[in-house]
């Protein structure tokens, strides 16, 4: 993969994680195209060919709804994430879209100070690199290595 593309993808991933870790959830939907696919699922579901996710959205509007629900409706203890993202493995797709597979680890830091390894997994992304609003995620499938979540999953991964 050429250096420019690699850099573009890494930059997008880094800024995506930074937005979540800095609690700028309102910026999160803008990392996606208008019609998109965001799915948080487990390696086990995927291996069994099962389509279920924990979070599933097919448009940026749905992502905005989730942010508003997290801000205004849902009750959960104050917490932050720290994403650590590995270098992506990138492959060319069709129509100016690249595929990237990226490992991540997310620590969760509770308001009490308790810090835990919350989830690990990989992003299976399709990213549009060209056009006025690029780069953005057309699709982000968050494949969690474990099917077990501690207590709840509020902030997106």
């Amino acid at each position: 993969m050429d250096v420019a593309t690699t850099f573009q993808v890494q930059e997008l991933q880094a800024r995506y994680a930074q937005a979540l870790d800095d609690d700028r959830l309102e910026a999160w939907p803008d990392f996606f195209t208008d019609t998109c696919r965001y799915l948080v699922t487990t390696a086990d579901n995927l291996a069994q060919g099962m389509p279920l996710g924990m979070i599933y959205a097919t448009s940026r509007a749905m992502l905005r709804d989730r942010v508003r629900s997290l801000r205004d409706a849902n009750v959960y203890e104050a917490q932050r994430y720290r994403h650590v993202i590995a270098p992506p493995v990138i492959e060319h797709g069709e129509g100016g879209v690249v595929r990237a597979q990226t490992s991540f680890m997310v620590a969760r830091i509770m308001h009490t100070g308790e810090t835990m390894m919350f989830v690990t997994g990989r992003y299976d992304d399709r990213i549009v690199l060209e056009g006025p609003d690029a780069p953005r995620f057309v699709e982000k499938v968050v494949v969690l290595d474990s099917r077990q979540i501690d207590t709840l999953l509020a902030i997106p991964i």
């Binding site: 487990t42 924990m54 979070i55 709804d65 009750v75 979540i149 501690d150 709840l152």
Partner: protein
Amino acid sequence: MMSARQWPAEGVTRIPYWVYSDRDLFEDEQARVFRGPTWNFLCLDAELPKPNTYRTSAVGAMPVVVTRDNEGKLNAFENRCAHRGSLLCINERGEARDIVCVYHNWSYDLAGNLTAVAFRKGMGGKGGMPADARPDENPPRKLKVETLCGLVFGTLDADAPPLETYLGPEIVKGIRRVMRAPVRVLGGYSQMLASNWKLYMENVKDSYHASLLHTFFTTFRLNRLSQKGGLVISEAGGNHISYSLAADTGGKEYEQAGMRAAQEGFGLEAPEVLHHVDEYGDGVGLQILSVFPTFVLQQTRNSLAVRRLVTHGLEKTELVWTIFGFTDDDEAMTERRLQQANLIGPAGYISMEDGAAPGFVQRGVNTAADILSVVEMGGRGIKSDDTRVTEASVRGFWTFYRAQMGL
């Protein structure tokens, strides 16, 4: 050993907080509740689709194996080798004609009977077991298994009443209603809850908290249309159904309400996440059904799931979800179920808080063992009601619990 605790004289309108923090009680529960004359949900029939398959499950804290044998018959037995007590199955699911313990290769048939002991007669005339040894003196305990509409239940107590008697006629009806066709599993996940198992079950049975803790619907003004509903409690108190009618039985009123709310700056931008069809034709949009001790069958619009608990410890409970549809679902219905799965699970718009609330109570009461919770919403009885602003099914849970525990 039996806990020396005494239940308060007021009865089930008072819950002493030691029920969530007493270690001896936790051990007693394993014997009296989980290994007692109760029916425990093990898995869906559809999770064992073929002969010669197995999956692991649990009864309370006890690991169990559920199998479908060569003839298609379901069996369940303790996941413990008769020899040294090792787990027999270390994988969650698989195919097998027999179960072979990994430790010393002792073999079992799919009904849990010991069939072979490796090197029983030794090798070259040396070693092996004495001729009069009884290697199956302490075999894995077998469960009696019964299935209702694709739900597989097991009991370790030979004296347990038949499953349908245990459930009661209303609960059987509620199960038959939801499980209307052969099941297709859509996936699953689990949540580890930092609380006692009873706190989660109380949360499930507590219809009073629904609109108070879960503000998703009210924040987005999605339930301004009156939602009729009620509560059905089995005679002995242990099982329940809480239901409400969907405001959007025809789809349109709901959408229009949603759009009005959206125009006023509330509401969802993408309300299609909640698009619901009345697949049961009875207008019921929510039916939460529980069976003592730890089974939940959930219909939230078109989102269907079974939930079960594994009691890993006094304050450590795993909530295992299996989400399903039916084999006759078309693509649109499957997509609907997947969209509405946003309401449930660890990240669910509605269920998210239910993972945390039991932990909030656990943390609050750990140092309040001798203080009592007052549970008098909706009166003091455990009767069915046409309101959900009641704690009657919570009292029902404790009524049945006390009978099991002799408390």
